[in-house]
Symmetry: C2
Subunit: 205 residues, 2 copies
């Protein structure tokens, strides 16, 4: 995997995409500019132009960006033209919330499997999905060619689950366990820990 484009640039593209969809779908706009987008996102217009220039020429002097076109381009760049099936591991409070989260819809992802090790949870239905025994994890991932997973298990299980997912081909993992996980090269991992985010902010208090 070449990393010619900085990861921080890639990280901003989904934010542009989200705002563009808002402009088009909620506000019915046809065109926008790096200036308008920047104003709405608190990012400089120069930064937006520079980020997008890594991938081509999307705007025109004077008229700016055609929103639907730029949305399509960003979806292609981010590989969101198909919907990714996601395996969710952990059916506790957080897994339950994720299983019911509407925010995945039309944004490239669909939680298609939920796994847990708790006999009381296995067989339970969450948003039309039946919680599967985590012992079936590898089989399901291989059989359905799953590349994307979300981990919502306790700290003590997170590395084991990560290793198991990676061993059968999962390459993008979002972990809610508040611990650093080790993954081999070629596997992307991202973390969500509310306390880490809050602690960064209390520095400024």
């Amino acid at each position: 995997m070449t990393r010619e484009i900085p990861d921080i640039v890639i990280g901003r593209l989904p934010i542009y995409l989200r705002e563009l969809i808002r402009l088009a779908d909620d506000e019915g706009k046809i065109n926008t500019s790096s200036h308008e987008l920047g104003e709405r996102l608190g990012i400089s217009s120069a930064q937006i132009r520079k980020d997008l220039s890594h991938f081509g020429e999307f705007g025109k002097q004077g008229t700016g960006y055609h929103i639907k076109y730029l949305i399509d381009q960003l979806r292609e760049i981010l590989h969101l033209t198909k919907e990714w099936d996601v395996a969710l591991v952990g059916a506790g409070y957080l897994g339950h919330a994720l299983a019911h989260y509407h925010g995945f819809l039309h944004r490239g992802f669909r939680i298609s499997w939920i796994f847990d090790s708790d006999p009381n949870k296995i067989g339970e239905t969450m948003n039309q999905l039946i919680v599967q025994d985590v012992s079936e994890l590898e089989k399901a991932v291989v059989h359905n060619n799953i590349k994307v997973a979300i981990i919502a298990v306790p700290i003590s299980k997170a590395q084991e689950i990560t290793d198991r997912l990676v061993s059968v081909g999962v390459r993008s993992i979002l972990s809610y366990a508040p611990i650093h996980l080790t993954v081999p090269e070629g596997v992307e991992i991202s973390y969500s820990d509310p306390v880490i985010q809050l602690q960064r902010m209390t520095y400024y208090l």
Copy 2:
């Protein structure tokens, strides 16, 4: 607010703190080094030394860092020597998961109030807290001098709730609504949107 130290440096301190606590509490270690810490976090030891050097001299040539001392120092720097009362707005699936999340414990935060506008939710008990009517939000924030809030409301309500929180003195907001929010200078806002994180990763798929 002076911003002499880059925000990205501040953002790494909580990650160091979390790993140091793991080293001390779970593994019973007394000392560590920037090398060991870096290995465990996938961050270069030089980066760690440079980050910490913004705040003083914490290590000794040869023996490295005394873990408990460094933990105490980081807690002071990040203003975590007291426990911050947090107002949680939104008692849906996600709010429910957050109310039950054990990860806040001993890490500087305690969800002390939960608010919702849904009459069916108001009065409900979540992890020993009673869901309050969101119309009481301002009064509770002022009365209890709350500075930190978590927003877990739908997109359509997120800016309004943000404005209301800010108007009564909240200065650190973690938002789970998948939308960019506007806050005045001096207020920190951080976002958690699983789709944004997943989309960044599918770029590499």
